[in-house]
């Protein structure tokens, strides 16, 4: 079992920008030294609702980008969907407000040492951490294809600077309001074949990650995904964000997505286990 991200700190971070981006909010935070320690795939856990709030738990947000400005200064950027009361509160905060942030947390996407052909797949705001990953991959000489999918055009997050960081971008929407009508899993197999993809990186809803795992297995391609499980703490103490993962020793264990994830090997996750403990899990 691994341990909490060694760079994690708890800070008050000032909001330096907060603007709408389609169905989401793009929020930039001044985080000082934290920015230098962020790797693509990491997340932050933010207190919501203010001092007297009845919301006692932090909310976890994937980091879209981090900018290390040097001299202990830096910022991180988040893409937040105002889903529930907590994320809506974050989106409603004005520039100058301070957020209580713990980060960076969790594992990061593994970066290959050789230049490879990578396919990045994002569902909805799950695209956010992929753009920073794309920049890193490109700087290592990798070819980067990207597929973004959502139910509708408003829920595709693909900023201009992000689009520039990839070699080719394909968009799918279920309602056909932009790009190809359908799901990301409809277009991925052809892209893998056409571009001789070596590795897939993905982030999005669990159903999508499961579908990509099936395709990756079929095509013999490595698949790293950032999972999304509900968390209460984000720092590894509450044991709520677990999911069944098969280890290298073949044993299935309930691992914490905040500590052993969010980035995991798609093939090792037991996706079929919805609302059950898979048979043979250690300690079941």
């Amino acid at each position: 079992m691994s341990s909490i991200n060694k760079a994690a700190t708890n800070i008050l971070a000032e909001i330096t920008s907060n603007r709408r981006a389609g169905a989401y909010h793009h929020i930039a935070l001044s985080v000082g030294e934290m920015a230098a320690h962020v790797r693509p795939g990491n997340f932050v856990a933010i207190s919501v609702g203010g001092e007297a709030s009845s919301m006692v738990l932090r909310r976890a947000f994937a980091i879209y980008r981090s900018v290390d400005l040097g001299n202990g200064q830096g910022q991180i950027e988040l893409v937040v969907a105002p889903h529930g009361a907590g994320s809506s509160w974050v989106c409603s905060q004005l520039v100058g407000a301070k957020l209580n942030v713990i980060g960076p947390l969790g594992t990061a996407f593994g970066i290959p040492t050789e230049p490879v052909r990578a396919l990045l797949v994002g569902g909805g705001y799950g695209s956010a951490p992929l753009f920073g990953l794309s920049e890193v991959l490109k700087s290592r000489g990798c070819r980067v294809d990207m597929v973004l999918g959502a139910s509708t055009a408003m829920k595709i997050y693909a900023p201009l600077e992000g689009k520039r960081s990839v070699n080719a971008l394909t968009i799918t929407t279920e309602d056909g309001s932009t790009g190809t009508q359908g799901r990301v899993s409809d277009v991925i197999p052809d892209i893998i074949d056409a571009n001789n993809i070596d590795i897939i990186y993905s982030c999005g809803p669990m159903g999508m990650l499961q579908a990509i795992t099936d395709i990756a297995r079929d095509k013999g391609v490595v698949h790293q995904c950032a999972v999304e499980e509900a968390m209460a703490c984000g720092i590894g103490v509450c044991m709520t964000c677990v999911l069944p993962v098969r280890g290298e020793d073949g044993v299935i264990r309930m691992l914490r997505s905040c500590i052993d994830g969010p980035v995991m090997d798609g093939e090792s996750v037991i996706w079929e286990s919805k609302r059950t403990i898979p048979e043979g899990t250690w300690g079941s």
Binding site: I4, K6, N10, L57, A230, A232, C238, M239, G283
Partner: protein, 311 residues
Amino acid sequence: MSTFDFETNLGAARFNNPIFTASGCAGSGKELSRFFPLANLGAVVTKSIMLKARSGRATPRMAETPSGMLNSIGLQGPGIDIFLENDIPWLVNEGATIVVSIAGESVEDYAILARRLRAVSGISALEVNISCPNVENRGQVFACDPVTARAAVEAVRRNIGGELPIIAKLSPDVTDIANIAEEVVAAGADGLALINTVLGMVIDTNTMRPKLAGKTGGLSGPAIRPVAVRAIYQVHARLSHVSILGMGGVTNGRDALELVLAGASAVSVGTATFGNPFAAMTVRTELEELLIAKGFSSMKEAVGYAHRTEV
């Protein structure tokens, strides 16, 4: 400030200060040690350890509720062997004061666990969790029945030997908690941990099914604090000579003081740690300041102060 005596006792065990973690709310301790030295706590109360490795319940295991949360972790853990091999030596090395929490599925489990822990050095007290609401045979929560509560604590008492104080953790989901408290004290408990979570349920109105995979869960957080204060007050009124480790929604020093005034000799911080990893340290500082501001010269002087009869 230096003259204030913050020490406290649970049974024969002495602690430098009265602020502990709550069982199951501090992981193995390693995660929190990223934020503050564990030696600064009165004690680390470990997750409730069982005989064998346990996967816990399926997800979703958590639902946030107004000023609280439901959890149904189901005592996920590595089992006593790995726990003794890894967790305890690590905590000892950190200089932490340790209260080991144990949970069993049968009276015999409690007996075996007590025997396994009897010769382990570095432990200050044993919390006997007889009230976890998240085991599958919910109908057999030991602490909901005076007979089974008594049997589990007796099994530990018979097998633990020596001086290690036993603290029995009770459920608030009973008609008369003071009655259960009397039973476990008669069975050999030196102290009482009050309260475990309150059994609850959330139904997802989109799927129109219980939100948690385990259907029911334990409610914790500020929402249950008045229940904790009431339980501590009632038990202290009946058994003023028995030490109480209080817990239930403590987020700051004021909350901790409330439990102390009701009768708690020490206070565990649980759910608050999920929102603020420094919560226990904040509570410790604020409680000491508050006790001094109220004119107490020691922590012990404040325990049960709300019961005084003078006007």
